[in-house]
Structures are given as structure tokens and as C-alpha cells.
């Protein structure tokens, strides 16, 4: 299958290894990966902070950048949710029904990584090997906006030599929340404290999730406490092989 990768601005700028892992994984599964060269950002930060009308140009740009894509995958649930739920609504509110229709169609063929693997490609066993003890943080937007359910867990459970351990209070938010982390830093940090404590309590060597933004928050808390527990994106685990 020809699959277009929406890297997301955060992965593009800060976590290129997550993009490389996604490319490697999809190629190993026999698919052709394209990376539309004009892509930038889905505008989620604007949309969620009340600057939606400001982001109309960003949305238009995104729709144009991916116009030729048949199937799009992004290693981020919150960016997919922004594309799938936010873009068309914004275009409609701005009185651009044409753009809204295009955005809606693009949203329908844009998938978060675990959705793409399980629902579109029909695989849970991706040939990965990861000999580590891993705990899984189900990010809020994967859980509640995309409702990916147990898809990531099924993928992880099929990874050879991976030991999956429970994360206490797994479904509680890590406290990132985009600009929330800057607008309400005390509350964000208090939520992070509890998340880090739970990660440490889990006994895992690796905390994984499907969103680099949440992992940036959790990872930032772990290294600040000089913890040896690492944060690793789902794509990197699934791309890992013998």
C-alpha cells in the first residue's frame, strides 16, 4: 500500500527518530512510504488554545500538502484527532464549505499508527523484538477522542520478548495538555508528579505511549528526577527487530 506519513511538527522538529521508526516499520511490512514535502503542522495548538480562526491558513496548507495522499498515518493520536475532528469544523465555522469537505475527506483517511496497523493493514504481529520491561500510558486523545481501545496493547503483546507491566492510574492525564503546561504549570507539574510516581511504581524500564508530546512531558519529569526509566514511542518499539 502507498502510505503517506504525516510526521507531525513535534516529531519533525524534536523527535525525528519516531518518524524514522515509523518509516522503517511500514517498509518492513512491505508498504511504500511517502513523506509529502510541504507538510508542517496540523494547527492543534492554535485550535486547542482558542486561536482556531488564526489557524485557518495552517489547515488549508495541511489539506493542500496531503491532497494526493491515499492513506495517511501519523505517530500521534492528538494530531490525528485534530485533523479528523477539528479541521472540518473550523473550515465550516469560517464559512468555507469547500475546504471543510476536503478536510473531512482527508480526516477520514488519516489514521493514528495503531489504527492503521490493526484496522487498515490488519496486522497485530509486526515482527518486532524488544527485550525490555515496558509500561503503557494510554494518552487521553488516543483513549477518548480516537477510542483506539486495546489496539496498542495488542500490538505490544505480540512483540517478542517484551514484558508488558501495568501502569497504576494509567488512564489519568499526564498533565501536558499543550499550552496548559505553560498556562497552568503548577497543576501540570502536580499531575506529572503522580504520573512519574506511577511509572516508577510499575517497575518498568521503559514507558511507552503513542504521542511524543505526552512522552516529552513524562520523559522530562523522569530525567529531572535522574530516573533511568526511558520514554520510547510505540513506533520505535514496533520498529525494533533482532
Amino acid at each position: 500500500m502507498r502510505i503517506s506519513l504525516m510526521a507531525t511538527c513535534l516529531v519533525d522538529a524534536m523527535f525525528p527518530d519516531v518518524g524514522r521508526a515509523t518509516v522503517g516499520l511500514l517498509r518492513r511490512l512491505g508498504h511504500r512510504v511517502e513523506v509529502p514535502a510541504e507538510q508542517t503542522c496540523c494547527g492543534q495548538m492554535h485550535l486547542n488554545t482558542g486561536y482556531g480562526p488564526r489557524a485557518l491558513g495552517v489547515v488549508r496548507h495541511h489539506v493542500t500538502a496531503f491532497a494526493g495522499a491515499e492513506v495517511v498515518v501519523a505517530p500521534s493520536a492528538s494530531c490525528v484527532a485534530s485533523v479528523r475532528h477539528g479541521h472540518a469544523a473550523l473550515a465550516r465555522a469560517a464559512g468555507e464549505p469547500g475546504l471543510a469537505a476536503e478536510a473531512e475527506a482527508l480526516g477520514a483517511r488519516t489514521h493514528e499508527l495503531s489504527e492503521l496497523l490493526v484496522d487498515v493493514l490488519g496486522v497485530t504481529e509486526v515482527g518486532a523484538w524488544y527485550p525490555h520491561r515496558v509500561t503503557w500510558h494510554p494518552t487521553c486523545h488516543s483513549l477518548r477522542l480516537l477510542q483506539v481501545g486495546d489496539r496498542p496493547r495488542r500490538l505490544l503483546e505480540a512483540v517478542e520478548d517484551l514484558e508488558l507491566v501495568e501502569l497504576p492510574g494509567a488512564e489519568q492525564c499526564c498533565g501536558f495538555g499543550g499550552t496548559f503546561a505553560l498556562k497552568n504549570p503548577a497543576v501540570s507539574s502536580a499531575m506529572l508528579d503522580d504520573k512519574v510516581r506511577h511509572v516508577l511504581d510499575s517497575g518498568a524500564a521503559v514507558c511507552s505511549a503513542g504521542d511524543s508530546s505526552c512522552l516529552m512531558q513524562i520523559g522530562g519529569g523522569l530525567t529531572r528526577r535522574s530516573s533511568p526509566v526511558r520514554t520510547v514511542h510505540l513506533a520505535e518499539i514496533l520498529a525494533s527487530s533482532r
Binding site: H46, G50, C140, G220
Partner: protein
């Protein structure tokens, strides 16, 4: 005045709501102090964790919960779409059964009406139950100014009142207090209390019981709120756990009920749905212990119903915000909210705290009076998931954030930054230039491979967590240079 659009409702829109709906200080400031209060956080985490688990179990028992939830939302939407018709029907029915209906455009008018009604009876003391709406309108202060003492009879509200405090939760107004604190409050403020009072819950309840029983027997006037009003028969309903409400509602010669105009339902049959949703969502009970219904005046008791707008019609006028008026005050959203769990109710500065408060309070007052509450959320979505009437609080928060931004309330630097970022993100070559700038950030974090300190506003991040050192090249650069093949 505008007319509320959409649906069939044509109701004039009142002035913004006033009363205890807005904070004196911005939410981030109050929240920072609340987060630092270790005892408060321990009380809140213990209480919310316990009730979350109980609520999940109570809801899991109901196989058709999703359908009930959809039905609850539909009932309330119908109420909002035909509020004009149903309110008039309610008034007709209450009046036909000997009650008197009063209409209050805002908190000040509602206070004035109640004070006049109490004054006319000659009473100098009232007993109260289900006090949230009366807290909203500041009724106790208005009564005190007229020389009338109000006694809260719900145990938790009594604790709050004796502690000269404010409620911090709908269902458990004293959730921020532990037993020891409650005993200390009783010892210092409850007349006639046994000085040897222990912190055993049964002993605390018994002390409150002895104190309140005397007040029930002497009070000639009661003031209540209401959970529901049934328009077709003019029947009011109060749902409670202690039975104190029932004594309040039945013993005094005059009963004055203060109710928000959105609290009504058209038919008794609607309660079949809402009375399944409410107890399981709030106390995690299959059915609450006491549910009282009354229609108009009863023998030996005069009845007045005060219908309060106080910003509700303004909320109704906003198609993207009006669903907040579906709320049945169950408090499930407070109990699951990760922000509420860390800061408690007082940080919100309104009698309506938590996620629903963050969307309701700014709508009742207008966003200009409450510009920080819509940002008091990570948009995690836990509130929407548990809401028994399916209020999409995260989407509504985003809508209100847009209204705050449109009002120009956000800092100029933020607005400029967001505008610049939108410009950058609208063309790849602009983003590439920005990424080249980001790479100069590699000068930071050379020692640890992590960025540990940044100037404001990013210092808000690095105060408590690291940032990764920016990579040598972006993902798209890697793709161009070697990834593509």
C-alpha cells in the same frame, strides 16, 4: 435584548449573571496555592479516587447506560428548546395548586424576593437545604443583611457554614475537610456542642443531628433548592441522602424554593430516566435514600417558587454553549477531573467548580468576568466520558477559549506569538527556517543531553521538567538526505 436562536425557544436574554460565580484572582494563581496545600491534595485524592471506583461499578451494572445517557441528553435538550412553553406550564400548575411563582432576572432580584418573603412572615431564622443556587445568588449574606439567620441543614453544608467557608464540590461540599478538621469546626462554632466530641464519624453526625433537630422544630420558614421541577403537574423534587431535607421541606409554615430556570422537565416520565442517571453518577447509589416531591401549597404550608435566570438565558442564546444547561449537578465530572483532583473547588472561585464549572461559570457571567476558567483543563476528555447527560465539555472549553481570545483578554505577546507561528506553519520553507533557528538550541544541554533551564515563558516548563536537546536535523531533512529511496 436578543432572542435565543435555534429550537422553538423565544426567550429574552437577560443581563450577565452576578453573585458567587467568579474568582477574585486568576485560576492559575489560586491553583498554584491549592496545589501546594498537601493536606488538601491528600483529602481530595482520597475522596475522588474512592468515589470514581464506586461510580464506575454503579454504572457498569446498567446494561443500557449509553441509551439512558442519550435519553437524558435528549430530554434536557427538549427542555432547552421549549423552555418558554414549559416554564409557563410550570407556573400555571404551581399556581393552580396554591403556590406562588416569582421570576428573578438575576441574583440581586432573587435575593430581594426571598428577603421580602421571609420578612413578611416575621421570622428571623430560616432552615435551608439543597443550597447551591442560593449560594450562587449569595442569599445567606442578603438574609444576614436583613437580620435573618440562615441555617444550613445538609451535614456537609453545615460544616462549610460553621467553618465560615465555601463549598468546594456539588455533592460533598466539605470534600476538602477531613474528620479532624470537622471536629475542630464543630467545637469552635456549633452552639451547645459537647466539648469532649471525638472525631468518630458517628459522633460527629450525632452532634449535628442534635443541633439541627432543635432548629427544624423552631424554624417557621425553609428555603430550598430543587433537583427537578415537573412542568405537567407543577411538582418540585429534592433528592438527598440524609432526610434533613425532608424535615426542612415539611415542618416549616412557609417553604421558599429557589431554582434555576433550566431545572425543569416536561413530564414525570422524564424522571424515570434522570433518576437512574443522577444517583449512580453522583453518590454511586442505585437509588438515593430520600426523594421528596411536592406540588404547590400543602396543608399548613405556604409555598413560593423563585425562578432564577442570572445568566442562563444568555447561555441558552449560544448554540455552542447551551448544552451546559443540561447539567443535573451530579458532580461525576469533578470526581474524574485530574485538575479538580489537584486543586479542589475553591480555586475555581465560583460555586460551580470543576469541568462543568469551567464551562458554566464563564457563560453565566460572560467570559470577560471569568477569562481564565476555560483554560483550567488539559482537554483530557474524562469529564465528557462520565457526564450522564453527555455534555461535550472539552469542545465547549475550546469554544469558550476562542471567545476569550476574541475578546482580547490574552497577553499581547501570546497573541503575537500565535500569529507568528500560524504564519510559519502555513509554508514549509518558513518552517524550515524556524527549524534551523531551533537547532541553535543545541548549544543548550550539551552536558546532560537535556535542556534544564530556559527563560520565560518556557521557564514554566523547565522549572519542573527537562526538555530534550533539539536534534541535529529534522525528520524531513533526514528524509531528504537519506530516508527517501
Amino acid at each position: 435584548m436578543n432572542a435565543a436562536d435555534g429550537g422553538a425557544t423565544r426567550i429574552p436574554v437577560s443581563t450577565p449573571g452576578v453573585g458567587h460565580l467568579r474568582a477574585e484572582r486568576p485560576f492559575p494563581t489560586s491553583a498554584r496555592e491549592a496545589v501546594a496545600d498537601r493536606a488538601l491534595r491528600a483529602n481530595l485524592t482520597a475522596a475522588t479516587t474512592r468515589i470514581r471506583a464506586k461510580r464506575d461499578a454503579a454504572v457498569a451494572e446498567v446494561p443500557d447506560w449509553a441509551e439512558l445517557r442519550a435519553a437524558g441528553a435528549a430530554i434536557k435538550d427538549d427542555v432547552l428548546a421549549h423552555l418558554d412553553t414549559y416554564l409557563v406550564r410550570l407556573e400555571e400548575q404551581v399556581t393552580a395548586r396554591g403556590g406562588t411563582v416569582h421570576w428573578a432576572a438575576d441574583a440581586a432580584e432573587a435575593d430581594r424576593i426571598v428577603v421580602e418573603l421571609v420578612t413578611a412572615t416575621g421570622a428571623s431564622e430560616v432552615v435551608k437545604v439543597k443550597s447551591m443556587t442560593t449560594m450562587e445568588i449569595g442569599l445567606n449574606e442578603a438574609l444576614a443583611a436583613a437580620g435573618i439567620e440562615a441555617v444550613e441543614t445538609d451535614l456537609a453544608e453545615l460544616i462549610v457554614q460553621l467553618g465560615d467557608d465555601w463549598p468546594s464540590h456539588f455533592l460533598v461540599p466539605a470534600i476538602h475537610r477531613n474528620r479532624r478538621e470537622i471536629r475542630d469546626i464543630f467545637l469552635s462554632a456549633m452552639p451547645g456542642v459537647d466539648p469532649g466530641l471525638s472525631e468518630d464519624p458517628a459522633a460527629l453526625a450525632e452532634a449535628a443531628r442534635a443541633y439541627l433537630r432543635a432548629r427544624f422544630l423552631s424554624a417557621r420558614v425553609a428555603v430550598s433548592g430543587a433537583n427537578f421541577a415537573v412542568a405537567e403537574t407543577g411538582t418540585l423534587a429534592v433528592v438527598e441522602s440524609e432526610g434533613n431535607g425532608r424535615m426542612c421541606l415539611t415542618l416549616p409554615e412557609t417553604l421558599i424554593t429557589v431554582m434555576g430556570i433550566e431545572k425543569l422537565v416536561p413530564r414525570w416520565a422524564d424522571l424515570e430516566v434522570l433518576m437512574q442517571l443522577l444517583p449512580r453518577s453522583s453518590t454511586a447509589e442505585r437509588m438515593n435514600p430520600y426523594t421528596s416531591f411536592w406540588s404547590g401549597s400543602t396543608e399548613g404550608q405556604a409555598f413560593h417558587l423563585v425562578l432564577v435566570d442570572n445568566g442562563r438565558t444568555a447561555t441558552l442564546a449560544d448554540p455552542d454553549g447551551r448544552a451546559a444547561l443540561r447539567c443535573i449537578r451530579c458532580s461525576a465530572c469533578l470526581n474524574v477531573c485530574p485538575v479538580y483532583e489537584r486543586v479542589g473547588g475553591h480555586a475555581y472561585g465560583s460555586v460551580y467548580p470543576g469541568p462543568i464549572g469551567a464551562v458554566l461559570s464563564p457563560q453565566l457571567t460572560g467570559v470577560a468576568a471569568n477569562p481564565t476558567l476555560p483554560f483550567a483543563s488539559t482537554l483530557c476528555g474524562a469529564c465528557y466520558e462520565v457526564c450522564p447527560v453527555a455534555i461535550d465539555i472539552p469542545t465547549m472549553l475550546v469554544h469558550l477559549r476562542e471567545r476569550v481570545v476574541a475578546s482580547g483578554a490574552e497577553p499581547a505577546a501570546e497573541r503575537a506569538g500565535m500569529a507568528a507561528l500560524a504564519w510559519v506553519m502555513s509554508r514549509r520553507r518558513r518552517f524550515d527556517v524556524a527549524l534551523a533557528g531551533l537547532r541553535t538550541g543545541r548549544l543548550l544541554g550539551r552536558r546532560h543531553g537535556r535542556v534544564r533551564r530556559l527563560p520565560p515563558p518556557l521557564s514554566a516548563w523547565t522549572a519542573t521538567r527537562d526538555l530534550p536537546r533539539p536534534p541535529e536535523r529534522s525528520f524531513l531533512d533526514w528524509w531528504d538526505e537519506e530516508g527517501r529511496r
